[in-house]
Symmetry: C2
Subunit: 145 residues, 2 copies
């Protein structure tokens, strides 16, 4: 399958909010964000809903409604964004139960879970070392370190 783009969209949303907040606009609409991501506002609202549940943004209703970033971009590591929008593990186990009368089928799943857990942890650490503010900086000034 084409790897899914949920993390990419969520990071794009947050980076965009961090940018315009730096310009004084604090409340933005899903339509404005959708224009930058080049997708449908409902897709953005679905994503923002998950980010809200994770405590990264909040929403205001009524006239002048919209979304607001409620955490400092420096304090949002991508690992937290991933946790907010991604539920599936990187690697899946068997779809069906393997043959329990075979010593491999009976014992391989815990062995794989252990390895996959180490991989998840390594990926989490790698994502943790980059923040939304880092991505914003790199986006606006590529290669400057």
């Amino acid at each position: 399958m084409a790897a899914n783009s949920r993390l990419t969209v969520a990071v794009h949303v947050l980076v965009w909010m961090a940018l315009v907040r730096g310009r004084g606009r604090d409340v933005v609409t899903s339509e404005q964000i959708a224009d930058s991501v080049n997708t449908n506002p409902v897709v953005i609202r679905r994503c923002l809903g998950e980010l809200r549940r994770a405590g990264l943004v909040d929403v205001r209703h009524g006239a002048g409604a919209g979304w607001r970033l409620i955490r400092e971009p420096e304090s949002i590591p991508l690992s937290e964004v991933r946790r907010a929008v991604e539920t599936e593990p990187l690697f899946g186990l068997h779809r069906g139960e393997p043959n329990q009368r075979c010593p491999i089928g009976a014992g391989i799943r815990p062995a794989l879970e252990q390895v996959y857990g180490e991989v998840e942890e390594a990926a989490r650490r790698a994502l943790e070392s980059t923040s939304i503010a880092d991505v914003l900086r790199e986006t606006l000034a590529p290669g400057e370190r």
Copy 2:
């Protein structure tokens, strides 16, 4: 999405082959492996075909046909198995092109590629530290270290 199980199936196949080779059977059929994984022989053959292209197994045709492990289980890290059977990256970029007239849309993809590259490398290193022989050991004797 339900995370795909290609890596799991490929590791199961190789671990099973390592087990039975230790018992003196060197040539095995897709049907025998399918019985342990509890799936269809064609699924196993598709997987074995990719492992063959990667140089991990080879195939014999004709009567008494079947597959043979041609590398030492100790020398096959899971990172190599993943490379053999998995083509998609862990995280995908935007499906459509983001808005190039927005500074974020115009610059975010290289920034994300850099981060995602670091994550891929971290995952690769984590998989590299475990071999097929390690998984076999852990499968047969869980927790013994």
